[in-house]
Symmetry: C2
């Protein structure tokens, strides 16, 4: 196994960081790696906001409900961004572009572009011995995040990433069995492998070094989906000119 | 610079592959790396179809319009997958889950989960000396791809990935200047850096080793958006139970 694959397989989310900011060199390496990720038809349809302002960080931590959004080495917010696409267009050109720009296809493109860049950032950080945690929790109040960052039309916040020097080493979290996720030529139902995973994960939750509990994956998913959450995401997304048709 | 960051910065899309299939060990390493990517609230809301069947590959290549969809070392199709979430639920539980499952928030979650896994796959492959190309072009006819792969409700194809032994070495493609993409604390307009990039990219297109042409990034984006494309993505996505509210 090469060192890159070792880094990839060694990923765990870090939620406690030492009080030590990233250096400019580290940030440059992380952003440079993010920028070189693949991008759909050369659109580079994302932006990254690095948050260093203490008040802004606190406000984002409040939305997220997580202390590590404030206490970390650096905080990034990844945005879907189709604003650059029209920025140098004339008014007439803009009118002609808008129907295509605001469809679901380009919502998908910009979310995927942002995610590919983010994952490169994550891996670059981890290869430097840093830890990361994705912050979907910023979507607890996506409109507020959008306001706080004062994002123009055709730019929306998608998720954050806390980066820093790890102050804990959580257990590696099991993943669904390969055969529940990877199929050859044809999708397969996965009763057996899901039941096997539920058994495995029950053991993991019982025995893990912190936060041990009785649970299965299936039960966890049911709890998550049985109550609605973030139903306002669609309004903000459409208000900002994404996913409208 | 460590070898992982070197791999990340060295990425270029490969569109010509040697006639040499990936080994099972290579595929295992790539899928294993994909599985260890971060996932929103442990949902692992994606599936990967490895396509080896020659007829199926040809049909996907026809949709994509790209010969390297057929001629490669291995072909993956990444899908958004929320089907496992409800698979072991009772009918009553299913009814309670569906409103939340089918909202824009979880469309976003599953697209991002799939993209993070895919980018880990890409990096694992590149670290092994292989090349990759993302295939958004499968969305040229997303309904047909969905049919060909016979995907159940709450599973949709998002994009493909051709992987293989590179048979060419394209130039590294420039990216937008860092200051057009990365901002501290506040989003900034980017007239100047976009104009500078247009100048740079005009030079790149004129001088590159193959397919040289006269073009800028801004003009390319205008051409892309001035005609509508893939307006049917939203219908298929909603028909399959995503992005409905």
């Amino acid at each position: 196994m090469n060192s890159t694959i070792h880094t990839l397989l060694n990923h765990r989310s870090i939620r406690k960081f030492k009080d030590l900011p990233l250096t400019d060199e580290q940030i440059d390496a992380i952003i440079g790696a993010a920028q070189q990720a693949s991008t759909s038809s050369y659109m580079m349809a994302y932006s990254i906001i690095g948050v260093t302002d203490s008040e802004l960080k606190s406000a984002l931590a409040d939305i997220s409900g997580q202390p590590y959004v404030k206490q970390n080495g650096h905080l990034l917010v990844f945005c879907a961004d189709l604003h650059r696409q029209t920025h140098l267009a004339s008014n007439e050109e803009y009118s002609e572009m808008i129907e295509n720009l605001e469809n679901s296809e380009h919502f998908l493109v910009s979310a995927i572009d942002a995610a590919l860049a983010a994952q490169n950032a994550a891996i670059a950080a981890e290869s430097l011995g840093l830890g990361i945690c994705y912050l979907g929790s910023l979507r607890n109040d996506i409109s507020k995040v959008d306001q706080l960052l004062d994002l123009p039309k055709h730019v929306i916040p998608l998720f954050g990433m806390a980066i820093g020097h790890p102050a804990h080493q959580p257990d590696l979290k099991p993943r669904l069995p390969k055969k529940a996720v990877y199929f050859e030529n044809q999708y397969k139902e996965h009763d057996e492998s899901l039941r096997a995973f539920d058994k495995e994960i029950a053991g993991y939750y019982e025995s893990r070094s912190s936060n041990s509990r009785t649970d299965t994956w299936t039960e966890q998913m049911k709890r998550r989906f049985m109550k609605t959450m973030r139903m306002d995401v669609t309004d903000l997304v459409q208000k900002k000119g994404f996913n409208k048709r």
